[in-house]
């Protein structure tokens, strides 16, 4: 890796401390050769109102998705995007964003599909940077175009499709699932986030056997991730998950579950965590897939 790691004590306790940086670390290294800061937000114009100096905007909706297929860009598309943003394969990429880094985590997950070697998240995201009174600018830095290689997307290790989830349900002993939506979405009382638009899911409820751990439980007041100890108490202590388990995380469209995917795989070192990006918008509308309504988990294996 070209850029030194953040040796902050809280980060050092995580399974993969190299995947996270603090605001102080970033502030000291802005402008360093080989470091590119990327902002990825829910609001497509937020970067334009002021951003970390030198950062580039990567919009999840309009740049990381294929406009026709319900899928992410392919290897050629990703290479074109990286080249245009001035990001090299060798660069350290630090991603940050609004809304507790949901979209930043989602973007980081997409970078992972292409195996970008060094991609990190800014702990606390945009809100923390601004709350600390750190510098922002509206100035647009045009990074020189790069020659990013075409790397085929590898979905298998970190991405689950509906068929994978069905197979997971039938696995001996039942595969582990984490539903990171709000409790009301889990029980089926509602099909979308409180305060968010209705996005057209026919049925409410959850995937059989899924544990309910709303994503926000992993976040501290200031939007940073909770300490490793606190996270272990939730996922391992309370929910009984183990780093050896195969786990699939899902939410409504895959962005909040990217946050939890990051927690489980990068901070707690679970070896086999996949994000089901089809999530409830697909599952809740799919024909003849099992669901459970109400607060009970239901069981895997028997209902499928």
């Amino acid at each position: 890796m070209s850029t030194p790691l953040d040796t902050d004590a809280k980060l050092a306790a995580y399974a993969h401390p190299e995947k996270l940086v603090t605001t102080a670390w970033l502030a000291d290294r802005l402008g360093d050769e080989g470091l590119v800061v990327v902002e990825s937000d829910e609001d497509v114009l937020l970067w334009d109102t002021g951003h970390i100096p030198g950062s580039v905007k990567v919009d999840w909706h309009t740049e990381l998705n294929d406009p026709v297929t319900r899928d992410y860009v392919d290897g050629e598309g990703f290479a074109r995007l990286m080249a245009a943003k001035g990001i090299s394969r060798e660069d350290t990429v630090v991603i940050y964003g609004d809304k507790n880094n949901w979209w930043a985590a989602y973007a980081l997950w997409v970078f992972t599909l292409f195996g970008h070697p060094d991609v990190r998240l800014l702990d606390g995201g945009r809100a923390k940077w601004i709350a600390e009174g750190r510098e922002t600018t509206t100035e647009v830095t045009q990074r020189p175009a790069t020659d990013y290689p075409v790397v085929q997307r590898e979905d298998g290790p970190v991405r689950a499709f509906k068929e994978d989830v069905l197979a997971h349900l039938r696995a001996p002993g039942g595969g582990k699932l984490v539903d990171v939506r709000s409790p009301q979405e889990y029980t089926g009382e509602r099909t979308h986030m409180p305060d968010y638009p209705e996005e057209g899911t026919v049925r409410g409820g959850h995937i059989p056997g899924a544990d309910s751990v709303p994503w926000a439980r992993a976040a501290a007041e200031d939007g940073t991730f909770k300490s490793r100890e606190d996270l272990e108490a939730i996922y391992q202590g309370e929910k009984g998950l183990s780093p050896d388990d195969e786990v699939i995380a899902y939410c409504r469209i895959g962005e909040r579950s990217s946050h939890t995917w990051f927690v489980l795989s990068q901070l707690l070192g679970f070896g086999a965590v996949r994000n089901y990006d089809g999530s409830w918008t697909e599952w809740g509308n799919a024909v003849r897939v099992p669901i459970v309504k109400g607060p009970e988990k239901g069981s895997t294996g028997t209902t499928a």
Partner: protein, 158 residues
Amino acid sequence: MSGPAGLDDTPTAGLPPAMAGIVEDFQALPERERLQLLLEFSQGLKPLPAEFEGHLEKMERVDECQSPVFISVDVEGPDAGNAVHLHVSAPPEAPTTRGFAGVLQEGLEGLPAQVVLDLPGDVCHRLGLDQAVSPLRMRGMTGMLARVKRQVRVATAA
């Protein structure tokens, strides 16, 4: 690219002059620059009248927006031509939503209530922003307009 087709499929068809002008301004720009114009509208959104400052409970929440957005519509009496005035509260962290609110505020300002009610339902999509903003994010603006019309309907029925 033209707007969704009616019998007359120009993007400004059936729009009152101010709104038609805004649509023309957006359509005249290449797609990427349309976002910059939306940003300008977000900056031009008028401050809330004093009566609403700190009293968002007097306004209507726009649930379709992903951020806390509130609207209130004044409709003047018949002597003043039933002129409509739109007030919007939208946080600075939601510039896209503020931009949509700014477009509606400027495009509808002072129009007679009936003209607002007659606005084509697809007016938001005529700005040509669907690609640059993403369809999911367009819902907020459509929701805002629907709620404006509802408030106008209630005010004029009284």
